[in-house]
């Protein structure tokens, strides 16, 4: 099982913490969000660096890197699966899912998630 400490020094995690200014957060908060990401790494059997790399493909002709829509969809499906596996509900489900999305966003993967509302957008 991957722990927060296992992934804390990954390049993408360090970049995420620096970019999001999580370095200034309490040790408890740092541990919590790293723990969320560590669990997701376990579910996907990918390291944080591999998760970011997974979202990109290269054009065959130019070699230029681009964000894959299909892989972002896959990532969101994995996030949904992770939330269900953990049994998170309500605001916890939205917040923890968006911890992973925040990690991806700070590493250049623009990925949309859910918004927490007091009442659902549509019954």
């Amino acid at each position: 099982m991957t722990t927060a400490a296992d992934i804390r020094d990954a390049e993408t995690v360090r970049h995420w913490f620096a970019s999001a200014k999580h370095d200034g957060a309490s040790a408890e908060d740092q541990e919590r969000i790293c723990g969320v990401l560590a669990g997701f790494a376990d579910l996907t059997a990918k390291t944080p660096d591999e998760l970011v790399a997974f979202c990109f493909l290269r054009k065959k002709d130019t070699g230029q890197r681009f964000l894959s829509v299909k892989r972002r969809v896959q990532m969101n499906e994995w996030i949904d699966e992770y939330v269900a596996q953990q049994g998170w509900e309500g605001k916890d489900a939205v917040v923890n899912a968006n911890v992973i999305r925040g990690f991806l966003i700070h590493n250049g993967v623009a990925i949309g998630g859910n918004v927490w509302r007091k009442r659902p957008a549509k019954e």
Partner: protein, 260 residues
């Protein structure tokens, strides 16, 4: 609200209160403002479809998103889809003659029914309507004028607004958009969950970077005292404070469970 204050207060709002509905009356004020915009040949270049959050299902909203239109679409209670109508020239002759009869297009300036038929319509409007590039230019500019008036009216009504891209293919299907309408902007409307001035004015280049006197290359020079007056009257305001804004974004992210 005073006009200059409205201009100064307007900033793109990206955090709306999703649980605070917008009064239809205020939306109508925006539409009336758009409907009063300046327009060539008195044509109805601009069209709009007002959609309240619950009018479409979640899947359609998701499909309307683009790489730059994301969370704000989830938060906005009202979306106004703005289009430009490429059939603007239809009826132009009659509308121009109506303006001649009213005296808005006066004889002193050369206007008559014959001039409308032979010159204004026959040699200008009608040929332009067959030129796709010229028509697209006209429709876009004229729509922009109307859209901006709706934006400013919204600010005057105490609402937050912003213009965004949208997936036009999804919108066309979901909203039954005619083939002759071309997409302009998606205007999101709601009460701001963030500072209603968007955290301060965005950076702008000084006038001399873009505006000239007499000819290109001779930059407009500030007239002493004007900027001070505009600060007093609210058009020029304090710039964004990045630290204050970061704290606000963090607070909003916590409220809505957004990524940070």
């Amino acid at each position: 609200m005073e006009f200059k204050q409205v201009i100064g207060d307007r900033s793109t709002i990206r955090f709306f209160d999703p649980d605070k509905p917008v009064e239809p009356e205020k939306i109508q004020v925006m539409l009336e403002a758009a409907n009063r915009s300046s327009r060539a040949v008195n044509a109805d270049f601009v069209k709009a479809v007002v959609v309240f959050r619950d009018d479409l299902d979640d899947e359609t909203w998701e499909q309307l998103k683009t790489p730059t239109t994301t969370v704000q679409l989830d938060l906005a209670p009202v979306s106004i889809f703005w289009y430009g109508d490429m059939t603007f020239a239809q009826g132009a002759q009659d509308r121009l003659k109506e303006l001649v009869d009213l005296g808005a297009l006066p004889v002193t300036h050369g206007w008559s029914h014959s001039y409308v038929d032979e010159v204004a319509y026959g040699q200008v409007v009608e040929p332009m309507s067959r030129d796709v590039m010229a028509s697209t230019w006209a429709v876009s500019v004229e729509s922009g004028l109307a859209i901006n008036q709706a934006l400013l009216a919204a600010v005057d009504e105490g609402l937050g607004v912003g213009l965004h891209a949208f997936d036009s293919a999804t919108a066309k299907g979901a909203l039954d958009i005619p083939d002759t309408w071309i997409p302009m902007w998606l205007m999101l409307v709601g009460y701001a969950a963030e500072d209603r001035r968007g955290g301060g004015q965005r950076p702008r280049r000084p006038l001399e970077a873009n505006y000239y006197l007499g000819k290109y290359g001779n930059p407009w020079k500030d007239v002493p005292g004007v900027q001070d007056r505009l600060r007093r009257e609210g058009m020029l305001q304090d710039p964004m404070d990045p630290e204050k804004r970061a704290a606000e974004v963090r607070e909003l992210a916590e409220r809505f469970g957004l990524p940070l």
